[in-house]
């Protein structure tokens, strides 16, 4: 009887060490390329710029004092609002799409998911340029509107909505996939049970389907929110004179601004703010999840 237990432990020990070895490579990768570059950014945020324009390590808090600037705070608020709008719109688009595929896709499910994912293999940048061509004042959409007599033309580009639209287009797939995964796992008999208990389709959806797929929505919200908040491409290509975001500010410091230390301090400051927000969000969503 002990032998059984013994082999059990030995096997699991073997398995652990195998996993340990398998994890070594990705760990080394992450340490080299992620943790160390993070460390350089943190160190550089206390640095300075030499007279020749080179970033150099130092022990200065000047960069952190410089980011305490109400203009930057305004940008942070604007970026948060854009990112939140992106999450909400992404959810409104992603849920019906994921729902239709998961519950009514039948044997085409995988093909449909592939059809959604494949366009995202094209560079984000190329897709933003495509939007520019589509939505410009003399672009395809406006030409169509004019030809059909629906409108004299609409100014789409260089507005906050163009920036948010670009962000949604850029990141909506990160919402579709987790929502789809949670809908796929949904036990459809729950929906039938809801109907049996005389719920209409709407009440069934709000009372049964939505709560059961909450985890997917929460996860998707996070996956969309984070890249949207730090993005600068959408604002640069589709934005106007008043749509500058945090991402643009950081990018500016690393390019023409010739101020890597300030850019690093902004990055660290934003990461701290985001971590606080994220922890609060995860706590709130997991307690609510626990109530079930």
């Amino acid at each position: 009887m002990t032998t059984v237990e013994d082999t059990g432990t030995r096997r699991s020990a073997q398995r652990t060490s195998l996993w340990g070895w398998l994890l070594a490579l990705p760990t080394a990768w992450m340490v080299t390329f992620f943790v160390s570059s993070m460390a350089i950014i943190v160190l550089l945020s206390f640095g300075r710029t030499t007279n020749d324009g080179y970033p150099a390590f130092a022990l200065s808090t000047a960069n952190y004092r410089a980011i305490w600037n109400e203009v930057y705070l305004e940008l942070l608020v604007r970026s948060l609002l854009y990112a939140l709008a992106t999450v909400v719109i992404s959810a409104l688009i992603a849920y019906p799409v994921a729902y239709a595929i998961a519950l009514h896709g039948g044997r085409y499910k995988n093909a449909l998911i592939a059809a959604i994912v494949v366009p995202f293999f094209a560079s984000y940048l190329v897709r933003m340029y495509a939007w520019k061509a589509l939505l410009s004042d003399d672009g395809l959409v406006n030409s169509g509107l004019r030809a059909s007599g629906l409108s004299d033309g609409v100014t789409f580009l260089n507005t906050p909505w163009a920036v948010i639209g670009g962000l949604v287009y850029g990141f909506v797939v990160f919402m579709i996939l987790p929502v789809y995964a949670s809908l796929e796992r949904l036990d459809t008999s729950l929906i039938e049970a809801g109907r049996d208990l005389y719920h209409g389709p709407f009440r069934t959806f709000v009372g049964v389907t939505l709560p059961a797929t909450r985890a997917g929505l929460y996860g998707g919200a996070l996956l969309v929110f984070l890249p949207a908040l730090g993005d600068f491409v959408s604002a640069q290509l589709l934005g106007g004179a008043n749509t500058y975001m945090m991402g643009n500010l950081v990018q500016q410091q690393f390019a023409e601004g010739q101020n890597w230390p300030l850019g690093s301090a902004l990055t660290v400051g934003m990461m701290v703010a985001l971590t606080v927000l994220m922890v609060a969000y995860l706590r709130a969503t997991s307690t609510r999840g626990g109530e079930r």
Binding site: F57, Y72, L125, T155, L157, A241, A255
Partner: protein
């Protein structure tokens, strides 16, 4: 469609800057006075490793060089001067690079350039004739380490069918008829220079009081602006811009090369003065095939090749026997022409110290963020 020279900056930076090996770039002091390594002889010593803006020479000229000398041209591109500099600083080896004048100063100061002996170039007299501005340009005394490539200016382009009240002044970037359809270049030096010239200041000013005035002026422009963008050609072609702060060569390409009806577009060189700048050919110290690079420069100085390049890029090349051809190209829009004598002015972008650059950057950031 060809993008503007710096129009692709945004995305490029996402790739360019993040691939920087940090350590190579982070160091404290750089020697400022370095002897130039001697010039190479102009003879084939391998394939040419070429580093330039994307699509920035006529393909037929590059192809012709490969056929004439039996070498290959291996092309890499940069999307900003910062990106170009970072690659060189990280130790990458290129045989020929095409920096803007003030970056020639920086590269030369840091000992990153080889001398270029004009005696090795059979067409040297095309740029270094007796009395030529380029015999002793401000950015490279004695033209010891560079050969001039193109010259260009920055002005204002507009739609003649939409706007009728242009006044040949930078004030036209505040034009009421075009309110909401005006673009300013998304370029720190260019935007600040436009404000400085409007106020009668030096284009390179870093004086705090003058910067404050420039900031107020640029902020006052925001209600007229549609956006800050360096994609000037496409913004005009797509109908988004009616008035655009733009580069002379980009305008000429738009009007002569792209537009169905060229008379819809016009360009002015504002009377307060305009930035006029130049690009150059240089050979880095660590180039492995400097001899082929010398031959390539000589090839580009041949008037027939300079003319082909001009008809492709729409920027004037200061090559003596090619200048009349450019004047023809710009005949309908003389404001786009840049005479070599135009270069003798103070409105060139100079290499500034870190404090000055950062003060200017803070103003530009505040304008865009406000």
């Amino acid at each position: 469609m060809r993008a503007s020279r710096r129009g692709v900056l945004a995305g490029g930076l996402a790739l360019g800057v993040t691939t920087l090996p940090g350590c190579a770039y982070i160091r404290d002091d750089v020697p400022t006075k370095v002897e130039l390594p001697t010039s190479a002889k102009a003879k084939v010593d391998g394939d040419l490793v070429y580093f330039n803006w994307a699509d920035y020479l006529a393909p037929s000229v590059v192809k012709g060089f490969q056929e004439e000398y039996g070498v290959k041209v291996i092309e890499s591109n940069y999307d900003s001067m910062e990106g170009m500099y970072a690659k060189l600083a990280a130790g990458n080896q290129y045989d020929i690079v095409f920096p803007i004048a003030k970056w020639v100063v920086k590269l030369r100061q840091e000992g990153k350039l080889r001398a270029i002996d004009p005696a090795q170039l059979t067409n040297a007299d095309q740029v270094f004739w007796s009395g030529s501005y380029f015999n002793d340009p401000w950015y490279d005394p004695g033209s010891q380490a560079s050969v001039p490539f193109t010259v260009y200016k920055t002005g204002v382009g507009w739609r003649t069918d939409k706007v009728s009240t242009m006044t040949n002044s930078w004030q036209d970037l505040w034009n009421d008829q075009a309110r909401g359809r005006i673009f300013t270049l998304d370029d720190q030096d260019e935007a600040l220079a436009m404000a400085a010239l409007s106020l009668g200041y030096d284009v390179n000013t870093a004086e705090p009081s003058e910067l404050a005035d420039m900031k107020d002026l640029l902020v006052s422009q925001k209600e007229y602006l549609r956006a800050y963008s360096s994609d000037d050609i496409n913004n005009m072609m797509a109908g988004d811009a009616w008035v655009h702060h733009m580069w002379s060569g980009d305008f000429l390409y738009l009007r002569q090369g792209l537009a169905d009806d060229p008379t819809m577009f016009d360009f002015e060189s504002p009377s307060e003065g305009v930035p006029i700048n130049s690009d150059a050919y240089v050979i880095p110290t660590n180039a492995r095939h400097p001899g082929t690079a010398m031959l390539f420069i000589d090839w580009l100085l041949r008037p027939e090749n300079a003319i082909k390049n001009m008809k492709y890029l729409y920027y004037p090349f200061p090559v003596k026997d090619a200048l009349p051809a450019f004047a023809d190209l710009a005949a309908d829009v003389p404001a786009c022409n840049v005479e070599i004598s135009d270069l003798e002015n103070e409105n060139v972008f100079r290499l500034l110290g870190t404090d000055e650059v950062q003060r200017r950057a803070a103003v530009w950031t505040a304008v865009k963020a406000s």
